[in-house]
Symmetry: C2
Subunit: 306 residues, 2 copies
């Protein structure tokens, strides 16, 4: 696959929305190509329904941007970028199920199980998850095999009981409870949200064969923007509208969920998010001007509150 | 991890039940060690509940036996052997869900969702699936990294829309239909059952870095025993008792499912299964006496009908 890099991240001034739109287009073309419809059509259609339903494509873009920052190419990171979106989509499909969050809408569209049925939705998630690993293992070119194994290991950890699933379990357990601590809330979100953002960034660096100290800095960058991202999500659930977000709002209050604003109030939540973003950006100082997409993405996360 | 190989597969006469019991013990010890309970305990307990609920451990044993046949060690195949059982367990947990086959019992025990709830059961399956890939990627020692990537790719393909999930989708679609063809029935079972047995065998050979023609022979062996295994399963659903199988029987008839006996009758089904087993064994003739476990496992599959 040839991916043309039409955006020069060193060009001044750096325009994030142009950069994001360009990368999103490249990711969506790669996702579309990665998953064609063959017999039995229903499962592929169901996988594609959710995978190609839009969204910011933040995880793939983080992976691509970090790979370039670390001296790698878009081509070597694209299969992993697509896999990250497949895993993210799987988690959305399964979280939306009646037995979990029971959501009818996602990104302004009916959820997968509302269109295809619960059985197909469970299986579409399973298939996207296993295909994510397969896609990385078969399609990644130009990176050392040992590093690809490390990417696969990191992705597995980010999805399973030590990542997404662990966070979701504690989240489900905490619903309606009055005594949820800030520590528990942090556990939920470092696992449900930050873990996958973290592996999005570190996998890009691993594929480019970046030095370990650089990977550690990028990991801390990702952890901080991951937590900030969730704080902002909690704020938006209170302050935004259903139309603007493309999903239900006010759900946290209705479900009596502990959120950052419920601990800190909205203003302090915004301040904490901004502080995390500043810390995240500090981790990028030692890198060259190719750090501009990651700096701008960090700012973009808190910009969503305004 | 040190796995002692106390069974000499060249000893005469070869006793399969001793061999299977020994290997089963080794696999169960490795599974127990691979998955310890930490916070949040509920997800790990739920994963362990189904993973350590017994069963023949046929997939891991096939992987270990093939790796040894191809000149590899038990140690290098054990992480993949465990991963195969994790994937198999995931498929059972999700297939048993109310939205799918709606089974209350499995191997004589309550199904995962009857004990832990549907939400936890969906997540336990997801976590087992992602952990399977992680476990292979982090724990496999002594095999070339490129071959480990090939094992991961094959496992992904065997689970996803081109394997287990694809078979299950067509199976769900065929229920209650009067016009299911033999071709469709074959599609269901080559995908639902044979695909994972196939990757169990080929992954053992890949880890041992076996020559491609040997891998191809072993693949055909696995495809044939896989289909024979399903024919026998269909026969047992009619002729066996719930106590003997540890799961519900007569379900296929009740669900008006197409089965091999519904096409061929029981006697012809037995004959077809036996023919597949004979073909499978022929593929092993060019190997040395280390082929005895795989020969005996092939015979064991049809012995179950008597």
């Amino acid at each position: 696959m040839v991916v043309t890099n039409q955006i020069d991240p060193q060009a001044s001034p750096f325009d994030l929305s142009t950069y994001m739109a360009e990368r999103r287009g490249q990711v969506e073309a790669a996702l579309d190509k990665a998953l064609t419809v063959v017999y039995p059509e229903k499962i592929y259609e169901s996988m594609r329904y959710s995978l190609l339903a839009g969204g910011k494509r933040l995880r793939p873009i983080l992976c691509l941007a970090t790979c370039e920052l670390a001296g790698g190419s878009l081509e070597m990171a694209m299969p992993t970028a697509c896999a990250l979106e497949m895993v993210h989509t799987m988690s959305l499909i399964h979280d939306d199920l009646p037995a979990m969050d029971n959501d009818d809408y996602r990104r302004g569209q009916l959820t997968n199980h509302k269109v295809y049925g619960e059985d197909v939705a469970v299986l579409a998630g399973d298939a996207l998850l296993s295909y994510a690993f397969e896609h990385i293992a078969t399609q990644t070119k130009g990176a050392p095999a040992e590093n690809i194994l490390e990417v696969l290991a990191g992705l597995g950890r980010a999805v399973g009981a030590e990542g997404l699933v662990g966070g979701q379990i504690v989240d489900l357990d905490s619903e309606g409870k009055q005594d949820v601590t800030l520590e528990t809330l942090n556990f939920i979100h470092t696992h449900k949200t930050a873990a996958l953002l973290e592996v999005s960034v570190t996998s890009g660096a691993l594929l480019a064969n970046a030095p370990r100290p650089d990977i550690d800095k990028l990991r801390r960058y990702a952890q901080r923007i991951g937590l900030a991202f969730q704080i902002v999500d909690d704020i938006l659930d209170i302050t935004s509208t259903s139309e603007a977000l493309g999903k239900s709002v006010g759900k946290d209050l209705k479900a009596e969920k502990a959120t950052y604003p419920s601990f800190w109030g909205i203003e302090e939540s915004k301040r904490q998010a901004q502080q995390l973003i500043n810390q995240a950006k500090t981790e990028l100082h030692s890198f060259g001007p190719l750090n501009r997409p990651l700096l701008a993405i960090a700012d973009f996360i808190t910009a969503r509150t305004h």
